[in-house]
């Protein structure tokens, strides 16, 4: 059984972001990517899964249909979502941001914060600073760390490369992959930067206008120049 099974998901979010009944699955322990152009419905898909946009269909996490649950209840199933725009608590310090991330946890919070500082030493150096004073890259590291504080089974990442310099993005993806593999976290990642994410992902779905146009192993899609040209614009 897959960790996440999505069946006939339909949703509308904002203007022109519509899902016309998409179905896909994410296997436990894999890094799965959803690719596609702007407005294809990538963000809407993640928001539907984390319960932050209304939708219909079935969203089954580990055998349980979580569609229609409140976002907080879904988070407590250890499903973490790093949203578009990072969701930073700008007036809290870096450390307080991480404490908020660990809000649902009873113990081990201090240890996990220390682990985040090991993965992202820059955050450790700035632990007492207001998160709003961090650079874009540091805020992205913080957003990822905050999500990891939930000790997620499934981690949803929305365009982690947005606004980051290419070298920083590669570094971030490298660390993310290492953490996911080491900790056995399943990752569902939405990206516009197809070339980059396909290097790290195991499997990929390509969304186009709210429908799944094709799917396949990441290296197959990576190798298929025709697919990349027609769907991903690279």
């Amino acid at each position: 059984m897959s960790l996440l099974e999505v069946d006939e998901l339909r949703a509308t979010y904002g203007q022109g972001h519509v899902l016309h009944g998409i179905s896909f699955a994410v296997e436990e322990g894999q890094i799965v990517s959803i690719l596609g152009p702007n407005g294809a419905g990538k963000t809407t898909t993640l928001r539907a899964i984390s319960g932050t946009v209304e939708c219909s269909g079935r969203i089954v996490l580990d055998g349980q249909d979580i569609r229609g649950w409140g976002a907080d209840k879904i988070a407590r199933q250890r499903l973490a979502h790093v949203p578009e725009g990072r969701g930073t608590f700008t007036e809290l310090t870096v450390e307080e941001n991480l404490l908020v991330g660990g809000y649902t946890r009873r113990n081990g919070v201090r240890e996990d914060i220390a682990r985040c500082y090991q993965w992202f030493p820059r955050l450790g150096e700035r632990r007492t600073q207001h998160a709003g004073s961090l650079s874009g890259g540091e805020q992205q590291m913080l957003a990822v760390s905050r999500a990891l504080m939930l000790r997620p089974r499934l981690l949803l990442l929305d365009e982690p490369s947005l606004g980051l310099a290419p070298i920083l993005t590669r570094e971030l993806f490298g660390i993310l992959e290492r953490i996911a593999r080491d900790e056995g976290i399943t990752v569902l990642i939405v990206e516009q930067n197809a070339n980059l994410v396909l290097k790290f992902a195991d499997y990929a779905y390509v969304l186009e206008s709210g429908r799944i146009a094709l799917d396949g192993d990441a290296d197959e899609i990576q190798a298929d120049e025709a697919v990349k040209r027609s769907y991903l614009g690279v």
């Binding site: 907080d72 988070a75 407590r76 700008t90 007036e91 809290l92 307080e96 908020v100 709003g132 939930l150």
Partner: protein, 293 residues
């Protein structure tokens, strides 16, 4: 000089009350983004509850404590039943809802307890103490001390406890808080509960010097709005400092400026509100969020 110090101390005591009510306004504004016009009536209703307990021969200290606890619960109920359904609506709708709550509480109190005014005993007695030639009432000292205690407790609660951190997180970014598993609705209920409890304390502290009736918090609320505006609507310590500035200014103006006297004192907070909105709309300690991409 002696007189000046005395008037100033009275101002600080009065300002403490304004500060505490302003603190309640700030608590609700920060957590739910609502300017709660019913805050004064909530405190008035609570004070009547305390008066009711006194009539049932509950000792004063216990009656106040009980009222604060009951008000906490009442504030949570108000959030859940009246505010929650309109949460996130446009500001005008929210203003109308809090005004409706104001009328509801005002008429409700009149229906239950009548419209006559009643004496409310003070916690600190009528005595005063002589400090280097200046007579200061125990009431002024007591009220100021209670205010400092409330501010200190709230500060510790919001900075040192997990729930306090959750409240701050929700006030900054409810969507992101939910993604961290925080029950936002429950947190907002606690915010309203705290505001109601703090307001109840202010009501019972000020009632002895004002007489208790269904309108007795009206003027206090106006001063408190001035305090919150001056301090910055999203700043708890700003609210209290704003309260002191308003209280002292009000007392000094009433005492030394002939044409103001005690009749026109209410112009002082109104003037301050207008001046602050024109010169520095975010108030002395208010913050404006800085976003970075």
């Amino acid at each position: 000089m002696k007189e000046f110090v005395q008037v100033t101390v009275d101002g600080i005591a009065a300002g403490s009350i304004y500060g505490v009510v302003a603190l309640a306004l700030v608590l609700i504004y920060r957590t739910t983004g609502i300017v709660n016009f019913a805050q004064g009536e909530m405190a008035m209703f609570s004070t009547f509850v305390a008066w009711g307990l006194l009539q049932a021969d509950v000792p004063l200290g216990l009656a106040i404590l009980g009222t604060v606890v009951l008000s906490f619960a009442g504030g949570m109920v108000i959030e859940r039943v009246i505010i929650r359904p309109v949460e996130g609506s446009d500001p005008l709708a929210l203003v109308i809802v809090t005004l409706g709550l104001l009328i509801l509480l005002n008429s409700g109190a009149g229906w239950i307890w009548g419209f006559n005014n009643r004496a409310f005993p003070g916690l600190f007695g009528d005595e005063s103490v002589d400090i280097i030639g200046v007579r200061i009432s125990w009431e002024s000292i007591g009220i100021t001390a209670m205010t400092l205690a409330v501010v200190a407790l709230l500060y510790l609660f919001t900075t040192r406890t997990k729930l306090g951190l959750a409240m701050r997180a929700v006030s900054m970014n409810p969507a992101s808080s939910q993604l961290a598993g925080i029950r936002v609705g429950r947190t907002l209920m606690i915010g309203w509960g705290l505001a109601a409890a703090v307001g109840a304390l202010a009501g019972t502290l000020v009632a002895p010097s004002l007489f208790l009736d269904v309108t007795f918090m009206g003027a206090v609320l106006i001063y408190s709005f001035a305090a919150a505006t001056l301090g910055g609507f999203d700043s708890p310590h700003g609210a209290v400092i704003g309260g002191w500035i308003i209280g002292v200014t009000e007392q000094l103006a009433g005492h030394y400026v002939d044409f103001i006297g005690s009749d026109l004192k209410i112009l002082v907070p109104l003037g301050i509100i207008i001046a602050v909105l024109m010169v520095r709309p975010s108030g002395l300690f208010g913050s404006r969020e800085v976003a970075r991409v």
